[in-house]
């Protein structure tokens, strides 16, 4: 007889209730209640409120199937489990609505207004609306349970279709701009009304995605195996092919996208440039640098001071091209100055000292003491763009900036790849594995670490120089500690020590979610952006610590234990040291 695990169902039900209550309590439901996603049916607020219930409904009766065990039969009990989970969640939400309605907690919890109660009870108020408040999640739980009945491939395609509909609806601005850019704005006007996707358009997108997914069944998986094939020579040929493909795609993109997406991609390019630089310091040489923004600031200020007509001290008004080599020189020097005292320090001491250096550099640029050179709080303004023949590339026309950013990113990717595949790269990897043994093998630790620091600093210098020309003004507030942290997150979440990984990390984190001072595509999540960002980070580190696109070596490191069935030494022997490595960044 199929036993329904009551405890598990209750746990998932409470979790669903908790997520819904939290979303409403933090004010997300109210904030996005008027932003329609699918016209006239679904608003972003309700999507955020209820998305978790079908997931919980599915999970509550989803038994993990291990190799060699035959999967338990799926049937009615799954559906019931899903429905009950949704019900429990609905009850929790209803209780929450009653509490808000009964007591006036507004002076403590700002969002607990009667308006919220109205939303929770679908506009009917407490006594009448309660059944709906409970039944809606129950129905969604039921849908979650029903998913069990579908065969696995169909289920995957349904989920994919739903995901794509939400993405298209959310990124309405992007898609309508693409359609407008390729002269299909008449389509855009009909498909999107009041910034929401028409319901029939949503169904059309779902059908299209299902069709495409069905045709390329598993194609993506096959391509991934071929890409990460075993022997290195075949892999280098593959990655060369990939690079050419990406290059062609990137050339035509700016023409296709129009200014908004070029701006977002230009920002992604800047952060990717810095990500590749930091990837060398953290990913390859294993040094946790939390003050990386200092080099970005040095690059930007060097260009600003040399090229701006309003530069407080030197009115040299050089062209950007003349200022670039100086910017590279100064950031390399900064890399040397910051690197030297830091080299001998251990992992976390290095982190806090580099963090200190980052703050020292920012405050010196901000200070009144040096404002006669760097402009203090007013920064350096009127920085001209990059002179290119007759036109000038600057922030006003982001397409030009995007081309420059792409060029620099490809240059940085080439530099980090070529260094990685050379004796210096091997020295870095050895250094990261076990520093003392690397020294015993003849690697001059100090020089290797300094190399990493200086190359990283130079790449940040490039980014700074481009940033100054793009923005036209340089203010100290653009070089906060938060920038260093976000770049580190891009490298780690993308895939440490792996160039495509960092690229994917930059696109996802900076492009979609937005950087420290950048709105990104999901700009409308404005005040809740960092809340969602934080939750995503935690989920990411629990689910996929090696990153979105992990390097072969990084995933081997993190899952060393499972990989070595035939290891003779016990787990606590040499192996335990392997993942920890040379006490570097781990």
């Amino acid at each position: 007889m199929i036993t329904i695990d009551m405890r598990r169902m209750l746990r998932w039900g409470m979790t669903a209730g908790g997520v819904m209550t939290f979303t409403a309590a933090v004010g997300m439901l109210e904030a996005f209640e008027d932003r329609l996603l699918i016209y006239p049916v679904l608003s972003l607020g309700y999507l955020l409120l209820l998305w978790f219930v079908p997931v919980a409904g599915y999970q509550s009766s989803n038994v993990a199937v291990l190799e060699g065990m035959e999967a338990p039969p799926r049937g009615l009990h799954n559906v019931i489990a899903g429905a009950v989970t949704g019900l429990v969640g609905g009850v929790v939400l209803a209780l929450f609505a009653i509490v808000i309605n009964a007591f006036d907690l507004r002076d403590v919890f700002v969002p607990f207004s009667l308006k919220l109660v109205g939303l929770l009870t679908y506009g009917l108020g407490v006594p009448e609306g309660l059944p709906y408040a409970v039944l809606a999640p129950a129905a969604l739980g039921l849908v979650g349970g029903l998913m069990h009945l579908l065969p696995a491939s169909v289920r995957r395609r349904v989920i994919l279709a739903v995901e794509w509909v939400v993405v298209v609806a959310l990124l309405e601005q992007v898609f309508s701009q693409i359609l407008r850019q390729i002269r299909l704005e008449v389509v855009a006007d009909r498909v999107f009304t009041l910034k929401a996707l028409e319901w029939w358009a949503a169904l059309a997108v779902a059908a299209l995605v299902a069709a495409v997914a069905e045709r390329t069944r598993g194609g993506f998986g096959r391509m991934r195996e071929r890409l990460f094939a075993g022997d290195p020579r075949q892999r280098t040929r593959n990655s060369a092919w990939m690079a050419v493909l990406v290059l062609v795609f990137l050339i035509i993109i700016p023409q296709l996208l129009g200014s908004l997406l070029s701006e977002v991609l230009a920002n992604v390019g800047l952060f990717l440039l810095m990500g590749l630089g930091l990837n060398i310091v953290v990913g390859l040489a294993g040094m946790l640098d939390l003050g990386y923004v200092a080099f970005f600031a040095v690059g930007a200020y060097t260009v600003g001071v040399l090229t701006s007509p309003l530069s407080p001290r030197f009115t040299l008004e050089w062209s950007w091209w003349a200022a670039l080599p100086v910017a590279i020189l100064t950031s390399a020097l900064a890399g040397l100055l910051v690197g030297t005292p830091v080299i001998r320090m251990r992992g976390d001491y290095l982190a806090i000292v580099t963090l200190g250096f980052g703050e020292i550099v920012r405050i010196l640029f901000l200070s009144d003491w040096l404002s006669t050179t760097f402009g203090g709080a007013q920064g350096v303004q009127n920085i001209p763009g990059i002179p290119l023949g007759f036109t000038e590339v600057s922030g006003v026309g982001p397409e030009g900036v995007l081309y420059f950013a792409l060029f620099f990113v490809l240059l940085a990717a080439w530099i980090s790849w070529s260094l990685q595949e050379s004796r210096i790269g091997r020295a870095w990897t050895a250094l990261r594995e076990d520093e003392t043994v690397a020294a015993a093998m003849g690697i001059n630790i100090v020089r290797a670490k300094l190399n990493a620091f200086i190359v990283g600093a130079i790449l940040a210098g490039f980014a700074g120089a481009l940033f100054a020309a793009k923005l036209g003004s340089v203010f100290p507030s653009s070089f906060e500690l938060l920038v260093s942290i976000i770049i580190l997150v891009v490298v780690i979440v993308g895939g440490m020590g792996n160039i495509p990984g960092v690229a994917v990390g930059a696109v996802v984190l900076i492009g979609v979610l937005g950087g420290p001072n950048l709105p990104g595509l999901l700009a409308e999540f404005a005040e809740f952006k960092l809340l969602i960002y934080g939750a995503l980070l935690v989920f990411m580190m629990l689910r996929k610590p090696e990153g979105l696109v992990p390097s072969v070596r990084r995933s081997r490191e993190l899952h060393a234990d499972e990989l070595t069935q035939d290891a003779w030494l016990d787990k606590s022997g040499t192996l335990a040291e392997a993942p920890g490595g040379g006490r570097g960044a781990g």
Binding site: D231, R423, G425, A438, A439, G442, I443, G573, L575, A578
Partner: protein, 260 residues
């Protein structure tokens, strides 16, 4: 010609005096075994010679020059390479990369060469790879072919020991310090490695110093044996002289009861 000359070497960790005035010399082309009970200071001796810890006092002359106070990477560059008591390989690097990385101090291609992919770099990389493959072939068929690109952590224990020796050879040293090379190996593998150590000296011209507990290996392979106890050299000479020396037996087996 004396390759390694140690005068009055002292090293203590906190209260414990690991090396209490060691004096010894190693001649060029010799195979010398260093034996002694546990805690006699053998591994500390290796660590001090290879620059892991600077000595408290005393002199270490390698080919006539003092290497006291040098970074361990500079000592390796000078020509001393070592293996470790509990195998410390770069486990997540491939077998070939482990040996290639050890040639770091023998090669010169800097960042610019790497970035510009100059012909000098390509030639040097090819040389490094060739030399690594040649050294790995020294151990017969175990570490060649498909093994090149396998991560070091997938190797069996004996193969790891061999890889570590290959890695030490790759930095083109003049003096090889092997720390218990056959520990944990079965008799067949021990015999094979003993033969290889002799080949290291005869074919490759290395001077070899071994720390070892397996007396059969010491007897078969070493030209000369040095016995350390409580941080001091208590005996030196051929295996037969040393094994019959009164002080050595006492160090290992303790003083006979009746003399007490």
């Amino acid at each position: 010609m004396v390759m390694l000359d140690i005068h009055n070497l002292h090293k203590s960790f906190g209260g414990v005096e690991a090396l209490a005035g060691v004096n010894l010399h190693i001649a060029q082309g010799e195979i010398v075994s260093v034996i002694g009970p546990n805690g006699a200071g053998k591994t500390s001796f290796f660590n001090v010679v290879t620059g892991f810890y600077p000595p408290d006092s005393g002199e270490i002359l390698f080919e006539g020059e003092s290497i006291v106070g040098l970074e361990s990477s500079r000592i390796t560059e000078a020509g001393i390479a070592r293996t470790f008591q509990n195998v410390r390989l770069f486990l997540n690097m491939t077998v070939l990369e482990n040996v290639m990385v050890a040639q770091h101090c023998r090669t010169r291609a800097g960042a610019f060469h790497a970035i510009l992919r100059t012909p000098f770099l390509r030639r040097e990389e090819a040389e490094i790879r060739a030399r690594a493959e040649e050294i790995l072939s020294f151990f017969g068929t175990r570490l060649v072919g498909y093994r090149f690109d396998q991560p070091a952590l997938s190797l069996s224990y004996a193969n790891r020991r061999r890889l570590e020796i290959a890695r030490a050879m790759a930095s083109e040293p003049k003096l090889l310090l092997l720390d218990e090379p056959v520990a944990g190996m079965n008799p067949r593998e021990t015999a094979e490695l003993t033969g290889l150590i002799r080949k290291l000296r005869d074919e490759r011209g290395f001077t070899v110093v071994i720390i070892e507990h397996d007396m059969r290996v010491v007897r078969d392979v070493s030209d000369r044996v040095i016995v350390l106890d409580h941080g001091v050299k208590i005996a030196e000479g051929s295996y037969d002289e040393v094994s019959s020396d009164e002080a050595v037996i006492e160090a290992y087996l303790g003083r006979p009861a009746e003399v007490g």
